[in-house]
């Protein structure tokens, strides 16, 4: 394959000097999973879920991470939020390596980076009221006064388009789209700087997808956040993102401004992805 394999931060690929402030810098990150194949041959196979990835996210920017299932995009998200520990590499948040954070510092970091999950039904504790689920973040981070907490949670509920009265209801009383709104409210509770959104709309119905996409866009302006938006749907990426990184088998094969990538994809895999995506126009039929 003629395309260069690269590891490390290669500015020539992203093109142009980047002057805006960097919020998150990922450097040569690796995460391997051992696979047990036989009884005696332990750890003989390794899945390279994240294989030497470097990526930046600037303040106020939405970076899309696109790739097919199993390419390691979710793992990358989890490593950033430290739900998984990487094998190698660095993750710098505002210049601080988060992989070495402990205790109080770690807790601080947790306030800054949050995650929205794919499956709105699975991401809420079915035995907890919506209010408690959202308020949990506040409680963990020191807001112990229940009345204050309730007020803040009600504000959040309003912001994501739900009602204050939903506070004491349980997840099973909501539809998928509403649950995703609750998930977003929970992520927002601590006013984070960066949200990792892991396929937040792919489990939703079309008519609701757009609601959530628009909500995310609005909230981004309001909270002045950055997004790392993980998705497999190219159209959604194009709609939401400023920059996009294309992942395949644990590696980033191409990265750049959205328009550039969509108009002039360089890597064959990116091209394949774009070509395979159906177009909303019966005139452009390929079959």
């Amino acid at each position: 394959m003629p395309f260069p394999r690269f590891c490390g931060y290669n500015k020539s690929i992203t093109g142009g000097e980047d002057l805006s402030e960097k919020l998150l810098e990922i450097r040569k990150l690796k995460k391997y999973y051992p696979v047990q194949t036989g009884f005696l041959s332990r750890h003989s196979d390794i899945i390279k879920a994240v294989d030497c990835i470097s990526l930046d996210i600037n303040e106020g920017e939405t970076v899309g991470l696109v790739g097919e299932s199993g390419c390691g995009k979710t793992t990358l998200g989890k490593v950033i939020i430290r739900l998984e520990e990487p094998a190698e590499g660095e993750v710098l948040f505002k210049g601080m390596n988060i992989l070495s954070l402990k205790g109080g510092e770690m807790k601080k970091y947790r306030r800054e980076v949050q995650m929205i999950f794919q499956d709105p039904s699975a991401s809420l504790d079915p035995r907890m009221t919506v209010g408690n689920s959202i308020g949990e973040a506040l409680l963990i981070h020191g807001m112990e006064d229940e009345r204050k907490r309730m007020k803040r949670v009600e504000e959040l509920l309003n912001e994501v388009g739900l009602e204050a009265g939903d506070y004491s209801r349980y997840p099973h009383e909501f539809s998928g789209g509403q649950k995703q709104r609750i998930g977003i409210a929970r992520a927002l509770a601590l006013r984070p700087k960066l949200i990792i959104a892991d396929e937040p709309v792919s489990a939703l119905d079309i008519s609701v997808q757009a609601q959530i996409l628009n909500l995310l866009t609005e909230l981004k302006e309001e909270y002045k956040m950055s997004y790392l938006f993980i998705a497999h749907n190219m159209a959604v990426i194009r709609y939401l993102c400023d920059r996009v990184a294309v992942m395949k088998a644990g590696k980033i094969v191409e990265e750049g401004e959205v328009e550039e990538i969509f108009e002039k994809p360089k890597h064959p895999y990116t091209k394949a992805l774009l070509e395979a995506a159906p177009v909303l126009n019966p005139h452009v039929r390929r079959l």
Binding site: T37, G38, F39, L40, S41
Partner: protein, 329 residues
């Protein structure tokens, strides 16, 4: 393909190693149980001597007998002895029956085996069929009848059921002998007839349980997409149920049946043997307990555990053939 075989072999090997580990744990626990018992082998003779009320100096006799049985050695040496004896097939001497424990058990296991085997066959055959039937006919009267019947079967204390069966069928109606006649050859017609009531006693609870498991497993599988596929293919309903649903439903049921073996079946067989006077391992160990014959009790416990272990192992291995998905685990 070669890789698959190797991984399957590896899986079985891993199960084997686990089983050995568990077996070792079982041995250790039984050893401790044996030592927990207040009785040493000496106690039997001592009791006899003390009972005469004439000998005062028991301590001396005790010491002599302890020495003969190696009980004066440190615990770890006794443990080593115990394990090495077991490896030589020596389970000790049964004081209450005057036989080597190995010989005693080798004479009597067959009765328990027959009871458990027949009950299991009875329970599985009927339980599985009514379980499937009731699942297929979900929400019908037949289904409710099976459900209520199953619950009753699970809930009826089998020792009580046994007594009632004897009272009604043997004493009042005279259909069966009131006791199990060991002189009939095993599995002969007369013997099978004598087994009827015990098998019903032990089997009814199992049957009811299995029918519940099978029903819910069948229902689970009936909802699966592949059943819809099978129907969409135009297969006859019989084929859909028997070929597609049944095989998948039986996989979890087999595990449950095996798990039952240690909990339900051994306990139930124990009581059933006592009630019907079947001289199987349960009855033997029951009598041994009251005769302070701990070697037998521990040996039966050990065998029960080992049989369960082996059956679990066999189930695991059988799984690798029945369920192709397991081979990669």
């Amino acid at each position: 393909m070669a890789g698959k075989k190797a991984s399957m072999g590896g899986y079985i090997a891993r199960r084997l190693v686990y089983s050995l580990l568990i077996a070792w744990g079982i041995l250790t626990i039984t050893f401790l149980l044996l030592r927990l018992g207040p009785g040493s082998p000496a106690d039997k003779y001592l009791a006899n001597i003390a009972a005469s009320g004439r000998v005062r100096d028991i301590a001396q006799v005790q010491a002599a007998i302890d020495a003969r049985y190696g009980l004066d050695k440190p615990l770890y040496l006794q443990y080593v002895d115990y394990i090495s004896n077991l490896l030589h097939g020596n389970l000790g001497w049964s004081l209450s029956t005057s036989l080597p424990v190995t010989e005693l058990l080798s004479k009597h296991w067959i009765y328990s085996f027959e009871l458990i085997f027949l009950s299991t066959v009875f329970a599985v055959l009927i339980g599985v069929s009514i379980g499937i039937y009731s699942a297929v006919k979900q929400h019908t009267k037949a289904d409710y009848a099976v459900t209520v019947f199953s619950f009753m079967g699970i809930s009826i204390p089998n020792f009580w059921l046994g007594i009632m069966l004897i009272l009604v069928f043997s004493v009042k109606l005279g259909l069966f002998k009131t006791y199990y006649d060991t002189s009939l050859p095993l599995f002969s017609l007369g013997n099978l007839k004598a087994m009827t009531l015990p098998v019903i006693t032990l089997g009814s609870g199992m049957l009811a349980g299995y029918s519940r498991y099978v029903r819910s497993a069948t229902l689970d599988n009936l909802r699966k997409d592949f059943v819809r596929t099978a129907r969409a293919k135009g297969l006859p309903e019989r084929t859909v149920i028997l070929k597609h649903v049944f095989r998948n439903a039986m996989l979890p049921v087999i595990t449950i049946i095996m798990l039952d073996l240690s909990g339900v079946v051994f306990g139930g067989a124990y009581l059933t043997e006592i009630i019907f006077g079947i001289p199987g391992l349960g009855r033997i160990s029951f009598n041994a307990i009251f005769a302070d014959d701990y070697a037998v009790v521990v040996a039966v416990t050990l065998i029960g555990a080992m049989v369960t272990l082996i059956f679990n192992l066999l189930t695991d291995i059988a799984y690798t053939f029945l369920d192709p998905r397991v081979r990669y685990v």
